[in-house]
Symmetry: C2
DNA sequence: CTTTTGGTTCTGGAAAAACCGAACCAAATT
DNA sequence: AATTTGGTTCGGTTTTTCCAGAACCAAAAG
C-alpha cells in the first residue's frame, strides 16, 4: 500500500539528514555528508548521478563536487554496466575502512607535536607541568600503539576467514 | 645574547601556528586553537589575559571567547594569586585527558547510526553489501570496545603509582 | 558533422563563521 | 563617589564556506 511506502521514504530522508550532520561534523560539507549518507542507505546501493541529485534536490555542480571529494578520499567508487554510459556510484567499504584507520591513527600526530613542545620547553623551570605533559604524551603514545595493535589483530583475523 | 632569544620567540610563534592549525582541524576556531597551543608552550604556563592577547595580537573579545570555550570544555582553567585580581589561565591536563577520552568514544555514535541503517535496509535485496556494512559496524564496535579497554587499563595503572 | 548525454569546471551570490571595537559591567582602588 | 582594572557581551565588518546556474567538454548517438 502506498501509505507504507511514503512512510518509508520519509524515514529514509530523515535518516539521511541525521547521518548527514554526523558526517558533516567529521569534516565534510553538508551536501557531501548527505551524499555519503544516501549512498549508505539507498537501495540498490549503486545510484547514478541523476538519482542522487533528485533525491537530495541539489544542483549538478554540488553533487559532482561532493562525489569527487568522496571518490578522491576513497570512500566512494563507481561501477558501470555494458551499454550504459552512466556511472553508478556506491560506497567503497574497503576504502572507508582504510580512511577510518588513518583517522584513528591521527592520534599520533598530536603526540609528535607535543614531543616537540617538550623539547622546546625549559626543563628546569616547571617540572610539575612538564611531567603532566609527559603523561599526556605517554597516554597518546599508549593509545596510538594500542589502537595500532587492535587494527593489526583485526586485520589478521579478517585474513583467515 | 639577544639573537638567540629572538630565534626562540620565532620558533615558538611558528610552533603555536602549527599546533594551532592542528587544533583548528579538530573543531576549534583558529584563534581558540592558537590560544590552546600557546598555553601549551608558554613559560610559565599560567598566563594572564593580556599576555595571551599580546602574544597572539588578537582583540580582547576574541581572546575572551576562546578562553570561555576552552574553559567550558574543561581544557583550560585558571588560578589566582593573593592580592592580584587577574586570572592566570593554564592548560587543565586532567580535563584535557577527559575530553580526549570522550572524543575517542565518539566512534560508537557512528556505529549506532549504522545499526539503524542496517535495520532499515532490505535484508534480502543485497546481502553482499549488507554483510560489508555489518563488517564495518563490527569493526567500529571492536575498536570502541578495545579503546575503552585500553583506557580502563591505563587508568588503573595510573591509580596505583 | 550535428545533437544528446553524462557529467565537470568556472563564475557569482548568499549564508555562516571568525574577528574586531565599542559599549558595558562588577569588583577593587582612589 | 569617581576611576581604574579585568574582563564579558553586543553589533557590525571581513573572510570563508557552500551552493546554484551557466558555460563548457568529451564521448556516444543520430
Amino acid at each position: 500500500m502506498a501509505m507504507v511506502e511514503e512512510d518509508k521514504l520519509e524515514r529514509i530522508q530523515q535518516k539521511v539528514e541525521q547521518m548527514g550532520v554526523f558526517f558533516e561534523r567529521s569534516g565534510f560539507t553538508p551536501m557531501t555528508g548527505r551524499v555519503f549518507a544516501y549512498l549508505l542507505i539507498s537501495d540498490p546501493l549503486h545510484q547514478d548521478f541523476f538519482a542522487i541529485q533528485e533525491f537530495l534536490k541539489a544542483s549538478k555542480s554540488t553533487v559532482s563536487n561532493a562525489l569527487s571529494v568522496l571518490t578522491t578520499e576513497g570512500l566512494v567508487d563507481y561501477i558501470t554496466f555494458n551499454g550504459d554510459r552512466r556511472r553508478y556510484f556506491r560506497i567503497n567499504t574497503a576504502g572507508w575502512l582504510n580512511s577510518l584507520k588513518t583517522k584513528v591513527r591521527r592520534v599520533t600526530v598530536l603526540g609528535d607535536l607535543l614531543q616537540e613542545v617538550l623539547k622546546e620547553r625549559n626543563q628546569e623551570s616547571c617540572p610539575a607541568f612538564n611531567n603532566e605533559l609527559k603523561k599526556i604524551v605517554f597516554f597518546q603514545n599508549y593509545l596510538s600503539k594500542g589502537i595500532e595493535q587492535l587494527i593489526v589483530e583485526w586485520e589478521s583475523r579478517q585474513a583467515n576467514t
